[in-house]
Symmetry: C2
Subunit: 449 residues, 2 copies
């Protein structure tokens, strides 16, 4: 590809992100020319309704047939921002087959059909860029694929869904309950009318699959990932967690344990001294641990028109510069499957809240059930009675979800609990990392104001 | 360059970082092979004393003549980790002239002689990697050069010197005075016997020059940069700043103001709600604002054997993959000079501490001197008398350093001050950025535990 010519784009989708891309291409034309030496021309935009009134960039035409982009010999790069899994998949396939580079923000498609698409891109020697599909403007794809390539990665975790984090932030800082915070997120355009993808952790799960692929070069099948969202999360748990010194965040976490990958999406308690506990509003953050770098923490806007366009543009400009093809970060076209450590078998401290009728006697039964499963309780707080009963809240030493759930199910069966037990993982930093001091790399050494 | 062959390295310097590189190349050999398809062979290491006892990697020889690396036709990449400006400069020049790629961690050399070396690399079409020269393991070079290439950058700021930050952290969290904290840093091997480069801001200044080059494609001559270090910084200022809700950090900051670059290294007050205020110990952090991405915050280890080796390895593996040559991030070989907005003319709020004999009457004179220079005082605290006098501490609305210094010099001349005025900039987030809510992107919405 000559780097002197203009680069010709076919864009599928002119929604929030597509609109941001068009805007930033115009606004930053000079910066882009200085950096790449090339002009970027959007020749065709595929939209659902070509009759809708729009302001288009110069010399740009519309089509309502996305596949036209894959067939146009003028087009160098197809940018897929339409979403969905069917037409988008066909479009990306056809584009690669026809020798075009592809840039996409479609995390769902890549998480569920990435193997096929990456193999196709490798076969045809084409760039398949997806920086925008994980954590918006945060350059985590490029960072894992290139900057950290000399590391053996031990852990990747992050707040990967801005909508979910916004809801938790509002519950935490303004004392809203889940339903009110969700309604507010919807009113602000942060959450969809059907919030399933965000609230039930599915969007974050798609992103985590991509991060696992980048960190370890392994294929972790999406249906096998343990996914728990924040729907119905209770304010009282946020408050109890705070008493122990923790914040509750919707976390995507993957780590390597004895050659296996332990991964999942779940609401988790994170100690307030960690930077990731401080991620507010619709922000995203990713924390990576590697054997050379120690820990790296990246924080930025995970969604929205311009931030997502920033990531899409990063990929387009790599193509414009003639960057080498390095889509997955690994040489083999087909990645081996991950050995999976089931989330239920992973060792971690747990937060448990049980609602009981009254304290007397019950605490002995609870302690007994936990002991039977070898769950060791670290801290217990008994709370004043509330309308739903008397909460007994405790943190355990590291144990498995299997043990926690066996113990709580037993208590449920014995009729001791007024409602299902609430159990969340507690995020503990690995002790074996190279990140230094006992107080931890991200500790806030100062007392707060 | 064939990607099937092994990549042959000549390494200059086997100190902390060089040793880390050798270690990580061995430890992560399989990861590297999976990612690049190539083996990395260190053929020759140039050291000062070849007779010193060392464990060397297999098939590796020593030399005490670094220039040998530039002349060996087997060597693909010369890795310069020896430091200093004379031999290192010659080595890099000769290596590029002989068609070798170069990877260096030498910020001083690139800040002061970068124009010459980047031009030479461009002329010979060779990779000149320097990720390790700014903020250690934080991939800020690659991020600015590639991931954010579609942005117009408005601001780059960071904690760019881990030693300085460690000293300030210790002073803040353990109430040490400057001299004690410095001695402690020296005892821990974090500070040199001669701490000038770290403590007087020079190391951070070198890095800021490189960040300005990456963010705007401009050459900002090193001697013109305004540099103020933390030597002798007083504990009481840390405490007073805290009363206003701020932390004092040694900050490198550059921003674009009406087409000019305002830049400098100085101790500055940063509001406690910002993530950058929370960077503890020897960590580094960089915060970038761009018109597409909003704000991005990166946090990691800024120095040390393995973290720096992580960055060096990132560059080496880019070369191994056959990455396109994109050293400066811009097409022109010679960058235009920056239009400089002198630090003294930059508008910012200021923190001022004046030591006076007693309050009565003096406050009127101070207010008068400030008013004459159009400095508007925002908050004033009078503190109890201490051995050195009575401190009068205030924060101003945005004004220039020129006005602040004119006013305080006048008070000094009038004999009203018992010691020289202490004046620090206060970091205020730009209001014009796209990062969202009124409380700011990095606000901690929750009250602290």
């Amino acid at each position: 590809m000559s780097q002197q010519e203009r680069l010709v784009i076919g864009l599928a989708g002119l929604g929030t992100v597509g609109g941001g891309l068009v805007e930033m291409l115009q606004k930053n034309e000079r910066d882009i020319l200085n950096r790449t030496g090339r002009r970027i021309w959007i020749k065709t935009i595929a939209v659902r309704n070509i009759n809708k009134a729009r302001t288009l960039p110069e010399n740009c035409r519309l089509t309502d047939n996305p596949l036209e982009l894959a067939q146009d010999p003028d087009i160098d790069v197809v940018v897929e921002l339409m979403g969905g899994k069917d037409t988008a998949r066909t479009l990306i396939r056809e584009s690669l087959l026809n020798g075009k580079h592809v840039v996409t923000a479609n995390k769902a498609l890549l998480a569920e059909h990435g193997e096929e698409l990456f193999a196709l891109a490798a076969e045809h020697g084409r760039f398949l860029g997806y920086e925008a599909s994980v954590a918006g403007a945060i350059p985590i794809v490029q960072t894992l694929r290139e900057s950290l390539a000399g590391n053996h990665i031990s852990s990747v975790m992050g707040i990967l869904n801005g909508t979910g984090n916004y809801i938790l932030s509002e519950m935490t800082s303004h004392g809203l309950d889940f339903a009110t915070a969700l309604t507010q997120a919807q009113a602000q355009g942060l959450a969809e009318a059907d919030p399933t993808l965000d609230v039930d952790g599915i969007d974050a799960a798609h992103k985590l699959i991509l991060l696992i692929r980048l960190a370890w070069g392994l294929h972790y099948p999406f249906p096998e990932l343990s996914v728990q969202g924040i729907r119905g999360l209770r304010r009282m748990d946020i408050e109890f967690a705070r008493e122990f010194g923790y914040r509750i965040k919707l976390l995507g976490q993957a780590k390597e344990v004895d050659g296996k990958i332990e991964a999942g999406i779940y609401p988790a308690l994170i100690h307030y001294t960690m930077l990731i506990a401080r991620v507010g509003g619709a922000y995203n953050a990713v924390r990576v641990e590697g054997n050379a770098l120690g820990s790296l923490f990246l924080h930025g806007l995970g969604a929205g028109s311009r931030p997502t366009a920033s990531a899409v543009l990063g990929d387009i400009l790599s193509i414009a510069r003639g960057a080498e093809i390095n889509n997955t970060g690994y040489r083999r076209a087909l990645l081996p499957p991950a050995s999976i450590l089931p989330a239920e078998d992973a060792m971690t401290p747990w937060y448990v809240r049980l609602m009981v009728k009254d304290i007397s006697g019950v605490l002995r039964d609870i302690a007994g059930a936990m002991a039977e499963e070898n769950v060791s309780m670290a801290q217990v707080i008994q709370k004043a009675e509330c309308p739903e009963g008397v909460p007994i809240v405790f943190m355990t030493h590291a144990t498995t979800g299997r043990a926690i759930h066996a113990a709580t199910r037993k208590l449920e069966k014995e009729g001791l609990l007024l409602e299902q037990a609430t159990c969340y993982r507690v995020f503990a930093r690995d002790s074996g990392t190279e990140t230094g001091s006992g107080t931890g790399p991200e500790a806030v050494p100062e007392a707060d104001l």
